[in-house]
Symmetry: C2
Subunit: 216 residues, 2 copies
């Protein structure tokens, strides 16, 4: 008997509800001001290590970040998070994501997209492009995770789709005390229903508030 691996989403969000600022583009995927949402994570030693770099600090966010990374066997992400113009996918040197030749995942990644593409094998990480919808992507990710959990890395649209389908088992929000004014909202059309998720952990620092939601 196997326990079904959980789908664990996490995203950083501004005080006014945005996960990216206005004027998002391929060249500026976080939008104007959007980098402020990630200023809590970049200085952390755990983040730097994940990205193959040395240095960084430990602070009150460290245990939370480590818990987000723990026991993950596969990742699902939306097509915008993988990045690149769809046209680039068929070029001689197709887009290979933001992360260079050694992406910081180290496990299989499944990209939700409408554009078919052969799997992309990089050092430690293979990207598989799934055109058959979110449920099929989750099936494939669970199969690839080998009993571990599946991370839902974003963006907002992918998280909204999985939330709406009731498929998210855990949601971690990193609330950053800045205003972006406009941009891409996380909770749009979500109604007043957290789909059975309730807060099970909260950690506040001056830089970020971490809230973890899980099923009852």
């Amino acid at each position: 008997m196997t326990t079904l691996s959980r789908l664990r989403a996490q995203i950083s969000i501004s005080l006014d509800g945005f996960v990216a600022g206005p004027h998002q583009s391929i060249d500026n995927p976080l939008g104007v001001g959007g980098t402020a949402l990630h200023e809590w994570v970049v200085p952390l030693r755990t983040f730097q290590e994940q990205h193959g770099r040395e240095g960084g600090e430990d602070n009150a966010s460290t245990p939370f970040l480590e818990s987000l990374l723990a026991d993950i066997g596969a990742t699902i992400m939306g097509r915008n998070m993988f990045g690149g113009h769809p046209g680039d996918w068929s070029h001689e040197e197709p887009w290979t994501g933001w992360w260079g030749p050694r992406p910081p995942f180290g496990h299989p990644v499944f990209v939700l997209t409408h554009f078919p593409r052969e799997p992309l094998e990089l050092e430690g990480t293979t990207f598989t492009f799934v055109t058959e919808g979110i449920e099929r992507a989750l099936e494939q990710a669970r199969a690839a995770a080998g009993g571990a959990d599946v991370a839902l890395a974003g963006g907002a649209q992918a998280i909204r789709q999985y939330l709406a389908a009731g498929l998210v088992d855990e949601l971690a929000l990193n609330i950053v005390p800045v205003l972006l004014g406009s941009g891409e909202r996380l909770f749009i059309g979500s109604g007043d229903d957290l789909r059975g998720l309730r807060v099970v952990e909260s950690i506040a620092t001056l830089a970020v508030t971490h809230l973890r939601f899980a099923r009852d």
Copy 2:
């Protein structure tokens, strides 16, 4: 030489940015689901005492609530927070607010309104109705506060107006981990500018996250 008293706003807000649910009305000023925003405060002994009742509990939110109430000499509120149909104000028994004969303020309260009305003296609290705008209300409240600070009790529109005018010295947000889906937003048209306010304190519980913003 006197130190200018500070204007200190505080309000409770949902995870998706609403300070009241949809379908607000005179009879349901918090809108559908809006009472969830206040479930953290009602059980507190400090809140019960403020409202002339016994009992209640102390928890991690107690010091934050006490700090919100400390050193306040006058309160400003929007007209919807005072409540009542404007027509009721000229009746034989005019609307006297939500709070009964002994309101929980115990100091002068200034109500922003477009409808002139004579001051309303109740036990321990006099409501003064200010039709000359937010700056005049703040002048009057400061004069009445006798050197203490002025509380800006809400609602969202009043806080937005004072924020936009750069007049808020301290903003306390109580972020409640629920979704209201729609309703009245706090940060609408606020842009990406917190008007010189930055986080100086954060406290997280499972019921609410308290963030205090102050001037540099």
